[in-house]
Structure formats: C-alpha cells, structure tokens
C-alpha cells in the first residue's frame, strides 16, 4: 500500500515539475503576445478589449529593419551554402593533409564570441569604410553562416557513402558529373534543412551585428534593442517582438512539417558547439 502511495506522489511530483517548467518557459512569451494585443505594456487580466492597434502603430523603420534582416539573411544563407558545398566536398572527399586545419579555420567564427568578432569587424570596417553599410553587415553574417554551412554540409557528405560517386565514375562520369548528377540530388533535402536553420539563426543574430550596424543598416534585433535604450519599451516594439515569435513558430512548423518532429530535439539545432 505505501508503495502505491509513493508512486502516486512520484507521478504528482513529475507532473508539477513539468507543468512548472513548461509554464515558466511559455509564460514570459505569452506576456509579450498578450501585451501586443492589449496595446499597452501594463498588462491586465482584462481580455475583453483585445485589439491590433499596437501592430498598426509599428513604424516604417521597424518594417524596413525586418525587411533588411530578411534580405541579408537570405543572401548570406545562399552564398554560404554555395561556398560551403564545394569546400565541404574538398574537405571530406579530398583527403587533403591539411583538412583539419582548413576546416577549423572556417569554423572559427563559431568559437570566437560574437560580440568580440563584432568589435573586431567594427575596427576593420572603420578603416576600409564598410562600417554601418549593407555589405558590411552581409559579410559579417556570411562568416557566421559559412561556419554553420560547413558544419552542416560536412556532416551531410560524411553521411553519404563515397561509393555513390565512385560508382558514377566507374560508369563513365567525370568528377563534375558525379557531383551534379549524384551528389547534389542526394544532398538536396539536407541542404534545404541547412538553409532553413542558417536563415533563422541569421535572423536572430544580435551581438555580432550590433557594433557595425547604423541607422540605415539596422537588423531587427538591433532595432528592438536600440529603441528600448532610446525610448523605453513601447507597445509597437512589443508588437514587433511578437512578430519575431510568430516567425520562430513558423520556422518550427515548417521544420516539423517537412522533416518530422524528431528533428526538433537534439544538437542539430544547436547554434554553437
């Protein structure tokens, strides 16, 4: 009998713990959503007058920042994959003596703290006139995307047996044909996933871009940050923060729909490490 009682308490304990943690993780975000629909930062329990006034009040500079972020994120993602596929191919298949070294060089931006890399880029950009420019931001983002891209593509290629390419070669294909006809189609689903993950991490990058951004080149994360410093928290910035939450939700919905829920767990999603 006491054994059964113990079991009941243990189950109760688990339930309380899980509910508490999940609530703690979701409650703050739901506050943002609630606040965005109440149009005020002073949240009340009154849910009768939900409205979208905060969303309507989002100023153009926010939309411009969001659009700007999407643009450079897309360009950085595509460029990074275009550059990292051949690089990964060379590193995984090339059996070059210096492979580890080359690979580590490209993965370096992942190890250096973003804020420090941001400061370093500012220093360099000030000398060559790239600070606070579109191109400067893009290049910074590219270094990060490239590290992620190489990590993804190397893992993808290592997962593909070399026999496919060798088989194509023994049947008369040259290296390029093997790459285009065999390797690329086999990698395509993996590359799409990689693109999705690189894109979303580009969208939320802050520390790297903060120092080199300027009024005309301001990613949305930096914009949300500067406004809180300059003007304090405003309903329309809360609305924009909500939009970021929607984007994150949309990302996970796409991932879950295309890859299945199992991809949500585990370190593949990890931004570092």
């Amino acid at each position: 009998m006491p054994r059964g009682l113990l079991r009941v308490f243990a189950n109760l304990g688990w339930t309380v713990y899980v509910v508490a943690i999940v609530t703690w993780l979701l409650f703050p975000l739901s506050l943002i959503l609630l606040s965005s629909f109440q149009g005020t930062i002073s949240i009340t329990t009154d849910v009768s007058n939900l409205n979208v006034s905060a969303y309507e009040a989002i100023p153009d500079r926010y939309w411009n920042s969001l659009w700007f972020t999407v643009q450079i994120s897309v360009v950085a993602t595509v460029t990074a994959l275009l550059v990292s596929v051949p690089a990964a191919w060379a590193m995984v298949r090339g059996k070059l003596a210096e492979r580890r070294f080359l690979s580590n060089v490209v993965l370096l931006p992942d190890v250096v703290p973003h804020i420090i890399l941001g400061i370093a880029l500012l220093t360099l950009y000030l000398q060559i006139g790239l600070a606070r420019t579109w191109l400067g931001m893009l290049l910074a983002m590219l270094s990060l995307s490239l590290a992620m891209g190489l990590r993804f593509t190397e893992a993808l290629l290592e997962g593909l047996p070399e026999e496919y390419e060798l088989a194509a070669e023994t049947m008369g294909a040259n290296k390029l044909q093997a790459l285009v006809l065999i390797l690329m189609p086999l990698m395509a689903p993996g590359l799409a996933t990689a693109a999705l993950f690189i894109f979303i991490s580009n969208m939320v990058t802050f520390e790297l871009l903060f120092f080199i951004s300027g009024p005309n080149a301001s990613p949305i994360a930096v914009r949300l940050f500067s406004d809180i410093i300059d003007r304090g928290i405003m309903p329309h910035s809360v609305a924009m923060a909500s939009i970021m939450i929607y984007i994150s939700i949309a990302f996970y919905v796409i991932v879950a729909l295309t890859l299945g829920p199992k991809y949500l767990a585990g370190s593949t999603v990890s931004r570092k490490g």
């Binding site: 047996p161 026999e163 060798l166 088989a167 070669e169 008369g172 294909a173 044909q177």
Partner: protein, 359 residues
C-alpha cells in the same frame, strides 16, 4: 557483347603499399576473355586492393594493367570501361532501376532509343522485367543485387568486377544468387572478376580461382584443382576442411607415400610437383576421404578411438584420436554411422591423400 570483342586482361607486377604494410607484392596475372575468375582469400590478403587498383579507385606504386594491347592503368576510372559491383551495391537511391541501369549509357551518350532497348535487355537478363520504374529501396536485397549487376553489365564493359556482392544477403538467398550470377555470366560471356572470402562461393561459381594470402598469389587453378591438389599448406587449410599431418615423403618405385614420425605409412594419391624423396611434407586427408571400419577386420588399417560425433543432417562429423596420426576429423554419410559411438575403437582407411610442402 559478343565474345570475339572480348579482350584478355593482363595484370603485370602490381605493387602496392599502405605505409609500411605491403598490400600487394608484384602480382602478375592473365585473365582470359569471357572467363569467370575469383580472387579468394582471407581479409587483408590483397584481393580487394587488387580489384580497386584495376577499377582505378586506388593507385598502384608500380605495375601495369592491359586490356588486350591497350594499357588502361593510366586512365581515370571513368575511362577504363570497367563495370564495378560494390559490396553494398551503391545503387543511386534517387533514381529508378531503369535510370540506374541507363546511367553508364547516358555517360556514353547513347541515343535514347538504344538506351531504352539496352535497359530492357538487361532487365530481362537479370529477370527484373517490369521493375524498371521502381526505386532501389522498393526492391529486396537480392533484387538490388541483380540491378547492380545489370548496371555494371549494361555498357558492355571490358571487365566486370564484383566486390563481395553476396556478403549482404542472408544465407538462403546467397545460395540462389550465386547460381543466378553464374548463369548471367555464362549468358553474357562477360569477363568477370569476383572477389570473395567465402570458399564455397569461389568453388561454386568460378572457372578459375586465384587464391591470395598476404599480398601474394598462393595458387591459381580450377575449383577442382584447388580442392583436390592444393599447392601450399595455406591452400590446403583455407579451401575446404582438411586434416593435416606432418610427415616425410617416401618415393619407392615411383609410388609416393607419407611416413609419419610414429612410422605410420600412408600411400599418397597426389603430390605437389617438385617434392623429392625425403622432403618434409604435410599429408592432407579430406574428412570425407577417411573411411571408418567397424567390426571384423577393424584391426587391419590404422586404428583410432572415436572421441565425439557431431550430427549435421546428411553427414556426421566424427572426431577421432588415431594411433600415430594425432587427432583427425572424418565426415561420414549419416546412413553409415550406425554402430559407431563415442569411446569405440575403429579402423581407418584413406580414400585419397595428398602432400604439400612443409617448411
């Protein structure tokens, strides 16, 4: 592929090292056109290394490879015109069976109509008609294996290489497929090199077997030859079960016999050429060549005590401790074991004995 087109293949002094390890030591070999040749040996003997060098996936340190008069080892894999069947088949998962088989034809820019015709021909050859539009993942292991063979044969290569293609199949299927493969090869008259560590496969399928050990050829010959007259101790131990007894060769009036340390005298049916009177030899007796005599007259030949009996269906393995020849194993048809039991004294006669040099 018509036989008169086929050209013999010649490997000349192939040498390969991996670091300090000699994988292949000056290997030379002639492969006849249309022949089914098997490289047999334990893992690490150099058989797969040879195959990879011929296919161009590895580069030899020295030596040459010729198809007829044409030297091909200077060409990249894509221009050697060799069909390779990988151990795991390496069928392109994103292509249908048809596209897989047509890949080599596509690379050779065959016209579409001829490609289609050839693919059908191949599908018929490997008995997969109507499966052309399936993806490899929709096929069974044996079917995938046949697609891999069809793909390697489709573009009429000068040589087809099979790298342990049966090792991923379960035991029952393997027996079927090896006969299949043999028949396909007979029909296509395709010069074929097969690599395996499984001696049964080698014996069943090959015209000739190249037995390899530590990067060198131990023996080349027909399956019958390898089984009945192994040339070395390694060959005698590796191919089939065998009882090896150390002995000395005695030649009297052209009759060869083995004399063991305990002065047992056994007549030899065959002896490796070059062995002279008095040479150290291993006397080799196959288990099925040991006949067990019970009851009257059992004291005539050499005697033995039965230690254990292992039933295997059609035959029974009988472990014996013989007088003067050490422990032996005999294989007796199951219907002949009545009256034999562990602990019993029996007499032995040898239906055939062979001698290989002993160093």
């Amino acid at each position: 592929m018509s036989p008169e087109q086929a050209r013999p293949v010649r490997l000349a002094n192939l040498h390969k090292r991996f670091g300090g390890f000699v994988a292949l030591e000056n290997l030379s070999l002639d492969i006849e056109a249309g022949e089914f040749l098997t490289f047999l040996g334990p893992s690490g003997c150099g058989k797969t290394t040879t195959l990879k060098i011929v296919a161009g996936l590895l580069t030899q340190e020295s030596g040459e490879i010729y198809f007829g008069e044409r030297r091909i080892d200077t060409l990249p894999p894509s221009r050697r015109n060799i069909g390779l069947v990988f151990q795991n088949y390496a069928l392109f998962p994103h292509m249908t069976v048809r596209e897989n088989i047509a890949f080599g034809l596509r690379m050779r820019r065959w016209p579409a109509a001829r490609q289609a015709e050839r693919v059908e021909e191949m599908l018929a050859l490997v008995r997969l008609q109507g499966m052309g539009n399936r993806k490899p993942e929709q096929l069974s292991g044996g079917q995938q294996q046949r697609v891999a063979v069809a793909r390697a044969l489709a573009f009429s290569p000068d040589l087809v290489l099979l790298d342990e293609p049966l090792s991923n199949l379960d035991a029952k299927l393997r027996e079927e497929v090896r006969l299949d493969l043999r028949n396909i090869q007979r029909q296509s008259h395709q010069t074929t090199v097969f690599v395996t560590h499984d001696q049964i496969e080698a014996l069943v399928m090959s015209d000739r077997i190249v037995l390899m050990n530590s990067g060198r050829i131990e023996q080349i010959g027909s399956p019958q030859m390898l089984y009945d007259e192994p040339a070395t101790e390694f060959a005698a131990r590796f191919v089939g079960a065998n009882n090896l007894v150390p002995a000395r060769l005695e030649v009297v009036n052209g009759e060869a016999a083995a004399r063991t340390g305990s002065d047992v005298h056994v007549r030899l049916n065959t002896v490796v050429p070059g062995l002279a009177d008095g040479a150290d030899i291993w006397m080799c007796v196959r288990p099925e060549n040991i006949h067990i005599i019970t009851g009257e007259g059992s004291s005539d030949g050499s005697g033995a005590t039965v230690l254990d009996m292992i039933f295997q269906g059609t035959t029974v393995l009988v472990d014996l401790e013989s007088d003067g020849l050490g422990s032996l194993r005999a294989e007796v048809p199951a219907r002949h074991v009545a009256g034999i039991a562990a602990g019993q004294r029996v007499g032995l006669t040898f239906a055939a004995a062979h001698a290989v040099p002993r160093s």
